[in-house]
């Protein structure tokens, strides 16, 4: 990479006891007059993750489980309520000068879900991609900027002529390519991708996923990939963390997670994926819905929907404990009440 960056040998990103609460209370007057209580959403409630260099770590979960909040915490769009985010051994919460912060920020970028909302409609594509180059002072002359933008456009399989167009002239997939080019402009090491393909059609999704994997190989990128689509996660990830109501319930490498899921919630998620192989087969639908994060259930948050829950699960909150390389937060697994389950998939 361009700058002389002190690289430590530890994980690239480390989240320690990360929490983020949002205050969604009614206004003060309403609280006083109508005696409404304060309401706090525990969007992220204590998460520990380590992401190694060059790997793709995915977070999966249903809407409202806090996975996007984690993404925003990692890049610093939100500050944590508690806990810390460390990037390459540096605590992001430490006070630094703007210049020092900018050096760290350059090394991480984000790709957002909606390519229609994340590009300024009044800027030409050239300027959108050149912005990080200018902001971080990565090029000295206009010629240098132009060459760099053209190089980036080529890397995401667009042409130099596309630079003079506006975002509305592109399809969703092409726009997501522009977002990727913009993210790569500052030569980052770490990309946070928040549902980068969920707004796209499957054939376009395949193009973008292939491109992301090619770029990762070419530049040695590390990804934090947020998605609700398990098949996509299986395809792109090295390790996977499953989230439920602001907490991690299971972390494991991709193969183990999909072949030997431990946590009942992970098993449930895997049961519910509609898969092409399941033609005509009846999925076992799971009862219940994700409870509100304002009032999460006591004990294990999953216990109201869990077929293996007992009294302990209702009272005591399970913590992540390591198990054969992965880690699981479940009393039933810990007590050995839950038999191992091997899953086989038709190789597709």
């Amino acid at each position: 990479m361009a700058d002389a960056v002190t690289t430590t040998s530890g994980p690239l990103v480390r989240l320690k006891g990360l929490k983020r609460y949002f205050d969604v209370s009614p206004p003060l007057l309403a609280r006083v007059i109508e005696r409404k209580p304060r309401a706090i959403v525990q969007a992220v409630d204590g998460i520990d993750i380590e992401i190694a260099r060059g790997e793709t770590f995915s977070l999966v979960g249903e809407s409202g489980c806090g996975k996007s909040t984690v993404a925003r915490l990692v890049v610093g769009l939100y500050g944590p309520t508690e806990g810390s985010v460390e990037f390459d051994g540096m605590d992001m919460q430490e006070r630094r000068s703007a210049a020092e912060m900018s050096v760290i920020r350059r090394r991480m970028q984000m790709i957002f879900q909606d390519p229609f909302a994340s590009l300024n409609p009044r800027w030409r594509v050239f300027d959108i991609i050149a912005e990080p180059i200018r902001a971080f002072g990565l090029a000295n002359s206009t010629d240098e900027i132009r060459d760099r933008v053209n190089e980036l456009l080529a890397q995401v399989r667009l042409t130099a002529a596309d630079g003079s167009k506006y975002p509305h002239e592109f399809s969703g997939g092409q726009r997501q390519r522009i977002s990727i080019a913009r993210a790569l402009a500052s030569k980052p090491e770490f990309l946070v991708c928040d549902e980068p393909t969920s707004a796209l059609d499957v054939s376009v999704q395949a193009q973008i996923l292939n491109l992301m994997m090619d770029l990762q190989r070419e530049f040695g990128l590390t990804y934090l990939f947020i998605s609700h689509n398990l098949a996509v996660v299986y395809h792109i990830s090295t390790r996977v963390g499953v989230m439920y109501l602001g907490r991690l319930v299971e972390v494991a490498d991709t193969q183990s997670l999909f072949r030997r899921p431990r946590h009942p919630y992970t098993r449930m998620l895997l049961d519910t994926i509609p898969d092409l192989e399941m033609t005509g087969r009846q999925r076992a639908p799971v009862a219940g819905e994700v409870p509100s994060p304002i009032n999460p259930p006591s004990g294990c948050a999953f216990h109201p929907r869990c077929p293996h829950a007992n009294e302990r699960c209702k009272v005591e909150r399970p913590n992540l404990s390591s198990l054969d390389g992965g880690s699981v937060a479940c009393h039933a697994v810990e007590e050995g009440r839950l038999p191992m389950e091997e899953r086989t998939y038709a190789a597709g």
């Binding site: 499957v202 999909f258 092409l276 399941m278 597709g348």
Partner: protein
């Protein structure tokens, strides 16, 4: 109820053409689409955004938004032509004989009325029931779609239900008058996967019980694979392929369908890269001549860019592709021509 080939089709769509007149000329959003739906059958209609699948559904129930209009073809329900009926007559058919389920359950319910009132209104519009009986039927329907505490929930308003529960209410609304056919347009797209599984199982179970046929419009092949009996694949407003679900998923005939299936990531696969179809679907303003897929097709020949293929027999399915031209002057010849 399994669809039998002997039974007369419940719904016949013949050469349907939907147009949008614009200042820059007429856009053809659905072009020469024909298919049948047998009683009790689930026909999946898939395609990517802009393929015309939702418009096909809207044209069947006569809910095309102006300036969109049916410019040709026929829609025949139980032997009766319905695409040219006057508005008032069509209104009587909608709800009574064709039910509809849309993507977003929040916008298909009126936020100002309790769900019970909406159900009762629909029931009384189509069935000769007293207010008391209609309410009893509403509660019964809510029970049937699996809403716990239906007796009290019937008086709740849509915002008091979660997304999955709202979609159940919409299904209850569609079933009010026991229609023979339901058009379900992306019924599970707005829902989480675990809820999606519940809704699909429910829809499938209810339709089997009532013998209701479903035209299931979605972009999600997974949902189609486990729900539908037959699949119609649409591309750029045309049918690319239609056939039994197993054949289309496992043994796709049309090059587009093959590419589409390959681009879906599957769990358990070891593919390093996904199959990708380069390029994007053409805009309606610039549909290529001949086969609309020819510029992206790896097997395209000369004939493909000149002459538009009709649906041709391809194994148990039918595909609109010159590869399956039984006259033998199809793609093999075209491929040779391309080579030479």
């Amino acid at each position: 109820m399994s669809p039998s080939t002997a039974a007369a089709p419940l719904l016949q769509v013949r050469n349907l053409r939907v147009e949008f007149p614009t200042r820059r000329g007429t856009l053809v959003a659905v072009d020469d689409v024909s298919f049948d739906v047998a009683p009790g059958e689930v026909l999946g209609v898939v395609g990517e955004s802009g393929a015309g699948k939702s418009l096909t559904g809207a044209a069947i129930i006569g809910l095309l938004e102006p300036p969109g209009r049916i410019a040709g073809g026929q829609v025949i329900l139980e032997g009766q032509r319905i695409d040219d009926l006057p508005y008032e007559q069509m209104r009587k058919i909608r709800g009574a004989r064709i039910g509809a389920i849309f993507q977003d359950p929040l916008t298909s319910l009126n936020p100002l009325y309790s769900v019970g009132r909406q159900l009762v209104e629909t029931i009384q519009t189509h069935l000769p029931l007293s207010a008391f009986d209609a309410r009893a039927r509403a509660v019964g329907l809510l029970k049937e779609v699996g809403i716990p505490g239906a007796e009290t929930r019937v008086d709740h308003y849509p915002h008091q239900f979660s997304g999955g529960m709202r979609q159940r209410v919409v299904i209850a609304l569609a079933l009010c008058a026991n229609p023979r056919l339901i058009i379900a347009d992306e019924p599970t797209t707005a829902l989480d996967v675990s809820i999606q599984a519940q809704i699909i199982a429910l829809l499938k179970g209810l339709c089997r019980e009532h013998g209701t046929a479903v035209v299931l419009v979605t972009h999600d092949m997974g949902v189609i694979a486990e729900t539908a009996d037959r699949v119609a694949v649409m591309y750029a407003g045309r049918l690319a392929e239609i056939g039994p679900v197993r054949d289309v998923v496992k043994n796709a005939r049309h090059p587009y369908t093959r590419g589409l299936m390959g681009s879906i990531p599957s769990i358990g696969g070891h593919a390093e890269r996904l199959t990708q179809i380069d390029g994007a679907m053409p805009r309606l303003t610039a549909i290529p001549s001949g086969c609309a897929f020819n510029p992206r097709c790896p097997q395209a020949g000369v004939r493909c860019s000149i002459e538009r293929p009709d649906l041709m027999r391809a194994g148990p399915s039918r595909a609109a592709c010159w590869l399956y031209d039984s006259a033998g002057v199809g793609a093999p010849a075209a491929r040779e021509a391309a080579r030479g």
